[in-house]
Amino acid sequence: MRIIFVMDQRIDRGSIQSISNYMRAGDELGHEFALYGLPDPRFPTIRFSRDVSAFDYVVFLIESSRRWMSGLRMPRLFAEVPRHRRAIVDADGMYNQVIASNNYDRNHSSEYIRAEWVAHYRVVADKIFQPTFTPREPDVRKLLFYGYNPAQQIAPESSPAKAHDILHVGHNWWRWRQISGELLPAIESVRSDLGKIAFIGSWWDTIPAGAAELGVEAAFGFDAEWLRRLRIQIEPAVRYTEVIAAMSTGRINIMTQRPLFRELRILTSKYFEIFSADTTPLVMLDPDHAEMVYGPAGRELALCNGIGAKLVDVLSQPKKFREIVEEVRVHLLKHHTYRNRVQELVAALED
């Protein structure tokens, strides 16, 4: 099957890592994947094509904005590919009722905006997939979409030196409440037992221009003084090609998720790429969800209670946690490789 993705690709965020993996795994399985556009040296692992009519299906990967699906871009896609050969991966759960997690994070600011999204989706595609085990809308199909690529795994002997005890790789987008309410107090309580800590990503020390105009200033909350007091370094975002190596400079990598995603149990690239890094991943998920994704060993890596003590415990028992991580990797290899994901996508499109 020939499948072309259409998305708003960015080098240091979003789902570009998974698109790269679909291309590699697709080649192995005899399916051809490409990304809509012209070859771009910023994306060295991505195969691009503009020839949409040469593909069997167009898959739109939509996150929290649809401005990129402009009236300039869409007509050509509509003209060349009929709706029954177009599908949407609704990566951020926009095709749902209005959900406001703890009156903080939300998918839509109003019912009116939600209705616009729904109308948009219905025009764009026949099939809507969401990367969650439990879609809520009856016309949405489960498609986990993101996966694990064992070939990306960095072995301890080839791993970069450990520069940090704790790393958090991700952008500050609706994460501050979890970070400030759970993680930072825990770090504060055991700070003297921890070495270097860094947050890698955007908006931990600045709010992007236009956030207030768009009414999303709350998504970028931070407290620079608190971070400074805790000696947490802020480092710029890294390219998708370097993210696993960057994670491997930390003994522990902490994965957080925006509340909306936790509520909808939406998977992301990071769920899996963090296990390709030479590190001990600790995921701020409830243990049941961690087990659902990572298998029974995943419960041990869920960071939800006694966070400070857990951080110290992981640093003091590296062998024990390395074994737990290996157990999770075995589970991922069995259930969540991109070979699995390619087959699932092909089946879902053909269904």
Partner: protein
């Protein structure tokens, strides 16, 4: 002809004046022209429709990507009107290879998230006929159609002779002009030319005071422009304050002619990109409806081809201060040129003429 116009309608930006002229002049000529929209609250007398099937042609008037409607409306348009009866008026030269002129450009990925090829592909997918408001399109598959026009019925004040106009303009009949020089337009790719103009008139400032700039972003450089490093939206508030320039925000399209008429002089400035491509704008024509002396700061070739031979004398040239002083000392000479140019514009560039040209293009 039943014509449905598709664009983003803003009372103080882009082609709203021209679009409304198409509605009104079209009706007078027996055409039916409506805007693709729900009823527009602040323009209740303008006909609107969401039903492309009720029209012969759909005309997209495009400056930016948001001028295409959002889904699902766009899909309704594409489904309801075949491509060969869809037209795009490409007001800013998007349907070209990427062009940079000084700090101006027709495509900028970092600002609009669309590369040059997408403008070509996108326009071609939407419409069979791409029109550009220039006499000289660069691409073989684009056609020249000036789109904007001159409405003699909108002239603020009619004169029987240049002498009468000069007496009135000089304040010898009444002294109603509030400003020496006004400009109406948003500060997008115009600052370098405006700065040059202001610098040039600084030595004779007392002759053209007070000065007023009206439009968006003359008083500040937006944060996003600084963040993206876009130079075409610069300003110098200290310089403007030092020269005593009054700054006003946007004004509605139906206030432009009366407002410009409050100034003795009004520059006609086009973006550097437009100067290179020969693109005209609404203001190219509308300024001649105002009771003012236009200062034509355009390429000489464009002045002659658009305004006719009489307008040559209205070209500012290198010696801006000298030109203004000459107008002040011999106003009848310049008003003679203005009145002749108005007549030329009425003959060559009326909206009636535009409709004839458009009909001829569509008939082919």
């Amino acid at each position: 002809m039943k014509l449905l116009i598709v664009s983003r309608y803003d009372r103080s930006a882009r082609a709203i004046n021209t679009i409304i002229k198409y509605v009104r002049v079209g009706k007078a000529l027996g055409h039916e022209v409506a805007l693709f929209s729900d009823q527009i609250g602040d323009m209740p007398d303008v006909p609107t429709s969401r039903d492309p099937k009720a029209f012969d042609y759909v005309m997209f008037v495009v400056y930016e990507t948001p001028d295409f409607p959002d889904l699902p409306y766009l899909a309704h348009l594409l489904d309801g009107m075949p491509r060969e009866r869809r037209i795009i008026v490409d007001c800013t030269g998007r349907f070209n290879e990427t062009i940079e002129v000084e700090h101006d450009f027709n495509h900028l990925d970092k600002l609009e998230n669309h590369l040059g090829w997408e403008w070509i592909d996108g326009f071609s997918a939407v419409a069979e006929t791409i029109l550009q408001p220039t006499p000289t399109p660069l691409r073989a598959d684009a056609r020249g159609f000036l789109f904007h026009g001159f409405d003699p019925g909108a002239i603020e004040r009619h004169y029987d002779s240049a002498e009468e106009a000069a007496r009135s303009w000089s304040g010898k009949i009444d002294n109603s002009k509030q400003y020496g020089l006004v400009y109406v337009g948003n500060n997008w790719q115009r600052w370098s030319q405006m700065r040059s103009l202001l610098k040039a008139i600084e030595p004779i400032k007392q002759s053209v005071e007070p000065i007023c700039l009206t439009g968006w972003a003359w008083d500040h450089r937006p944060a996003w422009a600084a963040e993206l490093g876009i130079q075409g939206i610069d300003t110098d508030l200290a310089m403007l304050q030092q020269m005593g320039v009054e700054l006003k925000g946007n004004i509605s399209f139906d206030q432009v002619i009366p407002f410009i008429s409050q100034g003795k002089f009004c520059p006609v400035i086009h973006r550097p990109l437009f100067n290179q491509l020969g693109i005209v704008t609404n203001r190219t024509f509308e300024t001649f409806c105002s009771d003012t002396v236009p200062l034509l700061m355009l390429p000489v070739q464009m002045i002659e081809s658009i305004y006719g031979p009489a307008a040559r004398i209205l070209a500012v040239g290198e010696n801006v201060a000298g030109h203004i002083q000459d107008v002040l000392s011999r106003p009848a000479l310049y008003w003679d040129a203005i009145l002749k140019t108005r007549a030329y514009l009425a003959d060559q560039h009326s909206f009636q003429r535009r409709f004839q040209e458009l009909s001829a293009i569509l008939a082919k």
